[in-house]
Symmetry: D2
Subunit: 337 residues, 4 copies
């Protein structure tokens, strides 16, 4: 931590700041400049920096250490490759996860699984527990939905992923799925992170709607500290002042995150944009920026979907997108998983 | 819902939009202007408006109905007065909730309870389950903390409130506390809202860090639909681009919320600002804008606090604040509870 | 405009709202639904909608007409192709504008012009008047810089563009340049827009740091109403809460803007990201999303640049980028101009 | 500046960073910690910190010096008292500026001047050059408006203030007015800042819609570096994701700014909220938080106002507000100027 001192600081105040830091376990060095004097304080303490800000004579305090460790690229230089069933995510692969917003019936998920598999998707998605903004909206089929999802995945040879919303569901869900999803609204639901981390299973961790990249990595740190190291980060749009789009897809987060962590990062163009015709251009933009994959909503009958129909691709649109992604993958030096 | 039609729309497209809406249960009226033609569609359907946006010939769709009903001022014109133990929140009262960020020991909470009661606080706060950004930080005393909190409240004649973070804790917690707190990070943790709503107990519902006012009222709607109507809303700062303050306290939300809902709204100057010297000016600003109360962090020894010490007032600062609030209450035509 | 009425509205209030609107020149239709009653009001009046919001009995007012006309896709269906010297921007072309942040000397701009031309850029950029955040920073070479820029453009066969910051400079600048640039900070400097519009010359209009897409189109409308229809929009990043990147490049604005207006839209990956290694991935993302071109900063000696060196590409990086863009253009069905 | 080094940095890279900094005129000290090694570099250089970020082996760079000097509280400890005619702004005074959005006629401004003076306002406002979002809206009376404003100010004994939008107008305007206003959209119109600064006259500097507090102080620095030290800062709402209010009034900016600068800061509740009934609660909140005054829009006939009628107070509302401010001033230990 760097402590910038006020220009009018007295020697006594300076001494008192130094003692405070030393007592907390820091080594302190003074740097005297023409415009300002600063203390550099290093140590392993987890002091709240605001405590130092409040000391007399302190102008400003700047943290140096990153709060995340296990997720950091500094700790582990090479890319983590996450394994979901037989599918690998990370490195030079592009992995496409596809399926409906919600599992609505056995027939529906079987039919969609068949078409996304045919088009080239490698993991099947489908919600069974839906966190809806309105208490009056469809909340998912629950465990029954998980059964259908598992059956569809097995039939078409795809590992499956679904969202968890209640910590107490974690043990039950491990029987049906290959990868957990933590939704944007639950990115800082720490009880949920701990429950999922404990299972040791792969997790798709979506970025919260107003989470900084650092907070997102701290959520990954929670998962890692709880017991899993198989984490795929997923950018899905952030909230900004702009309302012409549902959210603002933060495409530049992709290369930034790749510098900060060894975990793979993919994108969710469906939730970011909320509208079908935006999904393809944003899918291409995400992959062009370096993303390791996508999670895309596809529905065989979007007009009748129980939720998020308007952002679901028709199977034929998804096929076209897969062909474009195939061409694009060569431009960025990768290949489709 | 209002559907703005494209200028070049054909008669067939128009007819097809009309049929779509009628089939979904809407009554449709056409309004022809010089610059644009719109359809007004009214009905009780809960159609996703994006489905209409995607129809050929549609330029734009504007929702009219509010998604919240029970929380709406239209449904209930007069102010709701929330009763927590013997304390009333709402109307012309100003209720001050105070206490430490976290219950750290029996001695600590007893001592702080004594001083905030003496200064004029009417409800005691103290965290037992702490949702911390870092997995390595102090996570609270758990049920033991609740026991101490209850004892302190009973000793000094104050109802008590604490944050809940796991839905499965709700039944246990009702034995110890008088009001639940839902934290900002959990405002859209719908499983938690449902579990708390089911208890029927009073709830302090903090606004999420990037929640719109409408989403905040939808979270209140979840609680109400689940079984409680004793809800106090709490503004605690939103995330903006500005980083000179921890969050941006949205003071203008106070009068806006009061027009939209009958539920009382208070403010949390401690979390909004994160720094002790900002707490008093922001407390006065909140009350001046019309808030029904405050929740303030006070600690008898902030330097040794396990969490959020830097934003906790010293007991003497809290006493001074209470005196200022007393003078201010007359200016806004209210009185301290 | 749509006026949503309060449920408890009296007949007299209703009548009074209707008369108010009719008097202002609107035609009013009433739509009675089960949940709400609304008035649809159409006309050519430019009433401030807040005046209606303040009438007794009004719950909410929703504007319908777009405030921009000339810039609207409704008015002109086919893409505008902007002509800058011999270069065309828009349609199925991808036009690359490149050059240094600032013209620093005759030698510098000649050297950079040679290398960007060689690599495939079609328009040369270079600042002569620099709007700097600090009054103590380099403010540009002024008219002398324009002379060097013009000479470099003529020597290497490229039209040139530069930023204008003072309305009174417009007539002088037309002698030297082929396209004006309006910078992000001046997007709502209406005096500047009017002065530039009056010249009738092509304009590159950057989006303001916190401008909505609608406000951006309104700025284009100012230019069009003042006398030019040769406008290229340029997305260059918006301000959000995220600070891991300098700005948040709003890539999804590209397809959204293309639906709303007939004007071409390009992207500025250099200012959006502020760092050299982010420029290439974001360039690819912009083109993948459908942008009609890019404006990129290139410097022959970035370490010695007077401004923005860290975001300038080395000539060799720019060549590599041009090769990647060539491959990518086929994927999106376009070709490099 | 503090340079955090990568953990895997080589000795050669370290040496190369050190030489780079020394060459640029910095004194460099190394601080070795258990978790990280940092360089502290002090000096008067104005190096772009991104140049250091790009060096091999650098993990992160943290600036220490503030970019503003003259505006800084470090340079000048005591409050600046700005003198506008006979009125003083700053210290323990509360100064109220009031008047219409725009001067519309001689009669209008005379009538409003009379009533705001009677109610206790000390400075008269009124726009003559209006920066309007739409090119088709009323743009102000120009110099004629300034004449009426001056006459009204003289008749009722109030200094007057108005907005400037074109740098070339500055000399002409000094004949009519006592204080310039720089509007939010022009806060970073550096040509305008320089032109106004050169006049040496008092300036009311509004915060830009998405300006950080630091950028706002840099704009004040521009004015000071150009020749005036009579600057009043004015908070008028920032742009956030929330749309239930026009802007988000950043009330906590008031105490924050007061720590950072010696210049007085006031608030503009009219533009921040955009609606008449929000003006009074927000006025009280601003003064409660410590603001040195307000600028409030008042109109004798808001329904007929050429612009911003809906946010203008009726004279009777303004009188009531002045009485409330009188009571409130005692609570915050100040008195109305």
């Amino acid at each position: 931590m760097i402590i910038v001192l006020k220009k009018q600081i007295s020697e006594m105040q300076k001494e008192s700041i130094r003692s405070f830091l030393v007592e907390k376990g820091y080594t302190v060095k003074e740097i005297v400049g023409q415009e300002e004097t600063v203390f550099g304080a290093v140590g392993q303490s987890t002091l709240d920096i605001r405590e130092v800000e409040l000391l007399e004579g302190v102008a400003n305090v700047v943290p140096i250490s990153k709060p995340y460790k296990l997720a950091s690229r500094e700790l582990k230089k090479e890319d983590t490759i996450v394994t979901v069933g037989k599918v690998k995510i990370g490195g030079n692969r592009i992995a496409i996860i596809a399926g409906p917003c919600a599992v609505e019936s056995r027939e529906q998920i079987m039919s969609i699984a068949a078409s996304v598999r045919e088009a080239g998707a490698v993991i099947l998605r489908g919600g069974a527990f839906k966190p809806r903004t309105s208490p009056y909206a469809f909340q998912g089929l629950g465990e029954e939905g998980l059964k259908y999802l598992k059956e569809a995945g097995e039939t078409y040879g795809m590992p499956v992923t679904t969202e968890i919303v209640n910590p107490s569901d974690a043990p039950m869900m491990t029987k049906y799925i290959d990868m957990f999803q933590i939704g944007a609204r639950n990115m800082q639901n720490f009880e949920l992170l701990k429950a999922v981390g404990k299972t040791g299973m792969p997790v798709l961790l979506k970025r919260g709607l107003c989470a900084t990249i650092e907070e997102w990595l701290m959520a990954a740190e929670y998962l890692m500290a709880s017991g899993t190291d198989q984490i795929v980060l997923c950018e899905r749009g952030i909230r900004t002042y702009e309302r012409a789009t549902r959210n603002t897809l933060d495409v530049s987060a992709i290369p930034v995150v790749q510098k900060m962590t060894h975990l793979p990062v993919i994108g969710d163009p469906s939730h970011a944009t909320g509208l079908r015709d935006m999904v393809s251009p944003m899918s291409l933009a995400l992959i062009a920026s370096g993303a390791s994959g996508l999670i895309v909503e596809v529905h065989n009958n979007p007009e009748k979907a129980f939720s998020d129909g308007p952002q679901s691709l028709y199977p034929s649109q998804f096929e076209k997108l897969m062909r474009d992604l195939h061409s694009l993958s060569a431009v960025v030096g990768k290949s489709l998983e």
